[in-house]
């Protein structure tokens, strides 16, 4: 660790010495409540079921991948409207039903699949991204 970083860590340490546990807990809870990954997979999928346009939101797409990593969300219901096809987009500019040629299965998503439910794919790289929820 560089001298400069050590100095910053020392300053950070001073802050933790200064603030009470109660005050620290309160401010962290306040900041934590603002988290933008706050939506659950269940809520997300339900919102997809009612409004598929939400898929145009690239960032929500990323969030769902994030949330598959959380074991508590692995039993999220898959909406029937999404179990029959593939959804893809290019830079989130266009969303259409279609097929991807070279799906890549992420490890965390594979774990979801191995739970005996549905499959999800992620398509990184180039202009291709998207996911698939197939029965």
């Amino acid at each position: 660790m560089s001298k400069e970083v050590k100095e910053y860590i020392t300053l950070f340490e001073e802050f933790f010495d200064e603030i009470s546990k109660e005050e620290l807990s309160a401010i962290l809870s306040k900041i934590e409540s603002r988290k933008y990954h706050g939506i659950t997979v269940s809520d997300y999928l339900n919102s997809l079921d009612s409004n598929i346009d939400v898929l145009k939101d690239f960032y929500r797409h990323n969030e769902i991948i994030t949330h598959f990593e959380n074991s508590e969300h692995k039993n999220a219901p898959i909406p029937s409207s999404l179990t029959k096809g593939v959804i893809k987009g290019e830079h989130a500019q266009s969303i259409e039903l279609g097929e991807f040629s070279t799906p890549v299965l992420l490890n965390d998503v594979q774990e979801f699949s191995s739970a005996g439910r549905n499959q999800a794919y992620y398509f990184p790289g180039g202009d291709n991204y998207g996911y698939r929820l197939a029965a």
Binding site: V5, F15, I31, Y59
Partner: protein, 186 residues
């Protein structure tokens, strides 16, 4: 550092009355557009394509405006997660320390920046200034706008000529944002 920043706003029929960028705030847990780098004024760093994409995604019904800002960012106030390895290393070490102290390993970067801002403001007399910055620049690697070119023919290594950089100003001032004007629709 001088650069042009692109800023997208919803078309509310008020283009001529807009004199400054919009402040991005947290709008609640379910809002997918919460700011990536904490609260502030956001620009795409010289990226008109991303400004249009953001507008098309976020304002599909009403349409959008794109404004351009002439940004002049002082190095000493710029926390640069794009081009400054020291800043990248520092945020990692500070975050590691924060997690060890609090157990909050699930905090994201936006939340951690809010923690750092709070630390700076917590006790001005103590001057615990672990984050003496006025703006942040970061790259959004989730945007797969890979515009690649290989360094050498026949070799795998390549670079991306169209990375997506975000710039967040914590507050507005005429030194950092010297001009702000609409470029779309022209």
């Amino acid at each position: 550092m001088k650069t042009k920043g692109h800023h997208t706003l919803e078309n509310r029929g008020n283009a001529d009355r807009i004199k400054q960028p919009s402040l991005s705030k947290y709008k609640g847990e379910d809002d997918p557009h919460n700011p990536f780098l904490g609260e502030g004024y956001y620009f795409w760093d010289n990226n008109i394509g991303m400004a249009h994409e953001w507008g098309r995604i976020r304002y599909p019904t009403k349409g959008y405006y794109i404004f351009e800002g002439s940004l002049s960012l002082e190095d000493k106030f710029l926390f640069d997660l794009v081009g400054n390895r020291s800043d990248q290393i520092r945020i990692k070490e500070l975050f590691k320390f924060f997690v060890a102290k609090t157990g909050k390993k699930d905090f994201d970067l936006a939340q951690f920046f809010e923690v750092l801002k709070f630390v700076v403001k917590y006790n001005p007399q103590k001057n615990i200034n672990i984050f003496p910055y006025k703006y942040i620049r970061a790259v959004d690697n989730s945007k797969r706008t890979l515009d690649t070119i290989r360094f050498n023919m026949g070799k795998e290594p390549y670079t991306n000529l169209s990375p997506v950089y975000l710039i967040c100003l914590f507050e507005l001032n005429e030194l950092a944002l010297q001009r702000f004007f609409r470029i779309y629709p022209s």
